[in-house]
């Protein structure tokens, strides 16, 4: 529908469809909702909104009375919530979207329950343990639900656990001599692994075939790797050889895979931004200090515009190839 809409509007702008006929053309193509579709849409919209409002009102109500409730009441409420979501999944059936949503909400409530448990009994557990156990406990549900959002939630939880562990102990798996860089390494190694695993798994499990997840994982991997690469160039710190190898491998593989194998313009645009950032940083660090200030500013302006123009032209060409 989005494709037809864009095409028809493009033809109308070109004059191939009269302005007065545009809406009719859109109606015929099915790009716009028909009259009989509106009641269902509005009923669904109001249903979701009403359910959300009632749910949040319940949360607000409990938040207001929280201090006055006994701890067993609080535990009971949370456990009832977890159980209720599981029961809802069982009643509705595994293939329905609502049942997957119910398990996701239940998974979130598991975390709330763990947090409340730690707060009530003062077990002395570290914050990282909460997120780690939370992530591990909901894995069986993620396997059952076959829902991409739930798996992404687990990745976020493990990410958080790793970061908190590193903050608490200052080292992880032998890393730790340079805390400023090692926190990037942790994010890079874990998210990079998840990214590769997700792309590989999505070829086998179609329910994982949602582009938003690997895109977010790519950002979580490429951003720290780009930052480290720039730090290696500017300050010559870190593990220069390993960083350079990993960065070049990411760029090379990324451009190859997302151009031919798994066409994804978003990824290509991200890699372009990364390459522009690194080259610009090299130029600023290595060239600008040796030239006059005015020439330096002028040079950087022209350089950045040229890089952006080159990247934009190439991406437009890729977009045309992928659209045709």
């Amino acid at each position: 529908m989005d494709f037809q809409r864009k095409l028809i509007l493009h033809w109308a702008c070109q004059g191939a469809i009269k302005q007065s006929d545009t809406q009719e053309a859109l109606n015929i193509s099915g790009a716009l909702p028909q009259a009989h579709q509106w009641p269902l849409f509005l009923a669904t919209l109001l249903l979701w909104l009403g359910a959300l409002a009632v749910t949040i009102s319940i949360l607000f109500f409990f938040a207001f009375n929280w201090n006055d409730m006994s701890r067993f009441t609080k535990f009971g409420l949370l456990e009832a919530g977890v159980f209720g979501c599981a029961a809802l999944y069982w009643f509705i059936g595994s293939e329905h979207f609502l049942s997957k949503l119910a398990l996701t909400i239940g998974s979130i409530l598991v975390g709330v329950l763990l947090a409340f448990y730690g707060q009530t009994y003062q077990t002395g557990a570290d914050p990282w343990q909460l997120f780690a156990y939370w992530g591990l406990l909901i894995i069986p549900w993620a396997l059952l639900a076959r829902f991409a959002t739930l798996w992404f939630l687990i990745i976020v939880l493990i990410n958080t656990a790793l970061q908190l562990y590193f903050e608490a102990y200052g080292q992880l798996l032998g890393l730790g001599d340079r805390p400023d860089e090692d926190v990037f390494w942790i994010a890079l190694l874990f998210n990079g692994t998840c990214w590769l695993a997700w792309e590989a798994a999505s070829t086998k499990f179609t329910w994982l075939n949602e582009r938003w997840a690997p895109r977010l994982l790519a950002i979580a991997t490429a951003a720290p790797l780009t930052a480290m690469f720039i730090m290696v160039i500017i300050e010559s710190i870190g593990f220069p050889v390993l960083t350079v190898i990993l960065y070049l491998a990411m760029i090379t593989l990324g451009f190859t895979v997302y151009q031919k194998r798994i066409p994804d313009l978003f990824m290509l645009a991200g890699f372009c931004l990364s390459v522009i950032s690194t080259i610009a940083s090299v130029v600023i660090a290595e060239v600008l200090e040796h030239v006059d200030e005015i020439i330096g500013f002028l040079g950087m302006t022209i350089f950045l515009i040229s890089m952006a123009a080159f990247a934009a032209n190439w991406l437009k060409k890729m977009h045309q190839e992928q659209s045709s």
């Binding site: 009719e24 009403g50 359910a51 009632v54 515009i305 977009h319 659209s323």
Partner: protein, 366 residues
């Protein structure tokens, strides 16, 4: 030409809606993330360009008249570059950077001119803000660049917010913005030849409106900041009046969409739609942002504009989150309002599904 395109063209041709040959396929609407990447680098280069001006032509910054004139000159050059060559991305980027640098100089010169004698009065500030608003509005209209129009429209919307706030008309600009936004989206297909200009402006103003409604959620906090930090006077217009005005516009939107779908306002459907809208409007006086969010969703769905629909959904989620942190009411009061509101919406939803389900089933059976 893909098979899908050819089939669509043929379908429209059979209904006599097309004329001439099918236009040659070229890259349609560059995706937003490519535009974003290009925009980010353009900004980066604009900062270096401003640095160049500061280094080489520092006398321009010493004289605010020169700064204003030079800024306008850069924008004029950018305009010519945009017009001259819409295919060359290099020139497009350079023009964008020039315009951004020019706007920076203009704003610097304007503020320096207004406050150069050490005196800062509210009337002077309001005048400067009005000038800025007109300036950005003109740029949004004139400059032939999607990114530029979006950015200028967003800047104009935000400037209007501050301008009316200083003029003791807090939150009024939301009603003004919403009128413009609704007009653009309702006429997207009637004014299709102007959509390259109007759609980026529409999105820029939509983002500004969403921001404004979030501020309305933090009404008392916002008023506190205005009075104690920015030394503004008390508004003579309570925000719920602005919400009611927005509600009036929402009713207009619903009425227009009923007309578009040939549904009479006197029919059961029409009455139900208007009644549901009225309920939402009343609730919106207690839960700011509700009417705007729902209107954006409805407009997005009506026009098949997924980005607008998504913005509406995101804005509603954002308002609900900010509602929790709002200090205007206790959690209990908020819980009561949301419970009543949610129940009413569920009831309307149930009535609608009951009313329309049997007809659809009969239609399908036939």
């Amino acid at each position: 030409m893909s098979l899908q395109q050819a089939m669509l063209w043929q379908k429209l041709h059979d209904k006599n809606l097309t004329s001439g040959d099918m236009p040659i396929n070229k890259a349609l609407d560059t995706p937003w993330y490519v535009q974003l990447m290009v925009g980010l680098v353009a900004w980066w280069s604009a900062f270096f360009f401003l640095g160049l001006i500061a280094s080489a032509l520092h006398f321009i910054l010493d004289n605010n008249a020169f700064a204003i004139l030079f800024g306008i000159m850069l924008i004029a050059i950018a305009y010519r570059l945009f017009l001259q060559n819409q295919v060359s991305t290099f020139r497009y980027q350079f023009a964008l950077a020039l315009s951004l640098a020019g706007q920076g100089l203009f704003i610097f010169g304007l503020f320096d001119f207004a406050f150069s004698h050490g005196h800062r009065g509210d009337n002077q500030l309001i005048t400067v803000l009005w000038v800025l608003f007109v300036f950005e509005s003109m740029l949004a209209w004139i400059m032939p660049s999607m990114i530029h129009r979006f950015g200028s429209a967003l800047a104009a919307g935000l400037t209007l917010s501050f301008t009316l706030a200083y003029a003791q008309l807090y939150f009024m600009h939301a009603a003004i913005l919403f009128t413009v936004i609704a007009t653009i989206w309702l006429n997207e297909f009637n004014w299709v030849k102007h959509r390259e200009r109007l759609i980026p402006i529409g999105y820029g103003l939509t983002i500004a409106l969403i921001y404004q409604e979030v501020m309305a959620s933090f009404y008392h906090t916002f008023i506190h900041i205005m009075k104690n930090w920015l030394k503004m006077e008390q508004s003579w217009l309570p925000y719920w009046v602005a919400e009611l005005l927005i509600g009036g516009i929402m009713l207009w939107v619903v009425w227009q969409l009923l007309q578009r779908n040939n549904v009479s306002t006197r029919s059961q459907t029409g009455i139900l739609a208007l009644f549901a809208s009225t309920v939402v409007i009343v609730l919106s006086t207690q839960a700011p942002g509700l009417a705007v969010g729902l209107s954006l969703i409805i407009l997005g769905y009506a026009n098949g504009a997924r980005m607008l629909l998504s913005l509406g959904i995101v804005s509603l989620l954002f308002y609900i989150s900010s509602y929790y942190y709002s200090l205007d009411m206790s959690l209990l009061e908020k819980a009561q309002i949301l419970a009543v509101f949610g129940s009413i919406l569920l009831l309307i939803s149930w009535v609608m599904s009951k009313k329309f389900q049997p007809k659809q089933e009969n239609t399908h059976a036939a």
